[in-house]
Symmetry: C2
Subunit: 244 residues, 2 copies
């Protein structure tokens, strides 16, 4: 009777940790959003798999908790890290309404890290992780954060940069950053991390502004020191003039 909230990493089994695989192996039930269940369907075909559609996160938590309260061990699976825009928080919140059930979060490689590895090394110095989804957060608050991060020379890593309803949010975010950094600032776009169609593109902030991205994309904007080295996006360790 336990719930693991498991971060799968970008998607491929090789990018999962041993701890994540062990938690799923120990579980009677794996629960999660359809697309994530599909990632483990083959490897864990001997488990009971409960998938729910997108945006039904609260329902998904209740399902997991009810299974646990029946005496089952349950893995609620998330892509990336379970604790970065993942299900870990909602699970603790929803579980308050039920009799006590043990919850353990198993971390995984989040898109900031797996995406950075594909681009080179953009996150070697301080960075801010911001989601452009305004489903639960006012847009002005999101852009206020983009502004703060840009002004303080953080590297920016942007999750959920676009969707049908918010086609121009990334452009607006870039315009905010462009008030603080030049259009030649190094930027990076990573798509479909860990999938067959995986791609990484090093570009500039000016070009990023005019690029249409989709919801399977993670975006990086370098700080004032970020360079292109051999086609890779590399942020130095600091601001001193010595070899950084």
């Amino acid at each position: 009777m336990k719930i693991y909230v498991v971060g799968l990493g970008p998607g491929s089994v090789e990018q999962m940790t041993g701890q994540a695989l062990a938690a799923m192996e120990e579980s009677d039930v794996l629960a999660g959003y359809d697309v994530y269940i599909d990632l483990v369907r083959e490897k864990f075909s001997h488990k009971r798999l409960l998938s729910t559609p997108m945006r039904r996160e609260e329902e998904r938590c209740r399902l997991a908790i009810e299974e646990a309260l029946k005496g089952n061990t349950v893995s609620m699976i998330c892509s990336g890290d379970a604790g970065v825009y993942g299900m870990a928080g909602l699970m603790y919140q929803v579980a308050q309404e039920y009799p006590p059930v043990e919850i353990e979060v198993i971390s995984g490689v989040t898109a900031a890290c797996s995406g950075a590895a594909l681009l080179g090394a953009p996150l070697i110095h301080d960075f801010a992780v911001i989601s452009l989804s305004d489903l639960l957060t006012p847009l002005e608050k999101i852009f206020r954060r983009v502004e703060a991060a840009a002004a303080a020379d953080f590297v920016l890593c942007i999750y959920n940069p676009s969707s049908k309803k918010r086609g121009d949010y990334l452009r607006q975010a870039c315009d905010i950053v462009l008030a603080h950094r030049g259009p030649k600032t190094v930027a990076g776009i990573v798509r479909n991390i860990g999938r067959k169609e995986e791609s990484a593109q090093v570009t500039t902030l000016g070009q990023l502004r005019d690029t249409q991205v989709d919801m399977f994309t993670t975006v990086f904007i370098g700080n004032s020191q970020t360079k292109v080295i051999g086609g890779k996006m590399v942020t130095p360790r600091g601001y001193k003039n010595e070899q950084q």
Copy 2:
């Protein structure tokens, strides 16, 4: 003739990804800081292990590159993620001085994520990752970032919060945040992640200010919405009043 820059995650073999283990298995040589080499010494005792002391990062890169240029496959290992304050960036920079050598970054679970999992779910919403080490970055620039992140209601995740020379930097950082958030703001302290002495403590910003931490500690400061639920540090998914 290839260099993998490998993130080991917090330390235990179970928290490494299959990809990290495969890269090390494929390598002729594992290179890294003493303490990290010790983490894999048992599992990879059949490999040639090259360890160098702390702060000799550039020398460590040269060692790895020279081994690769001799025709060896080399894994340069780092704790956490190789791309978050890790060796990936310096490796690209130093490699510029040598004939071309292939470099691939293998990401791992960084302390922000593994630490968050121990505390509960503090990073469910936008967060800023800041190192308080002023070895290569001017202190005023670091504190400017703390200020920006605090004002924009980011969750803060602080790496390298202390060392002998910078005993009171965390206190100063907390004072900056306290100008924007109350002393009862939820905070978290994680020590020795992935090691035997691992510990996680949920506290308040006011108490964090007066806590002496060491260099094996990662610190979290919640945003205005972060709550304590069943002893865990949990940040909601947003600012709307519905179940977040």
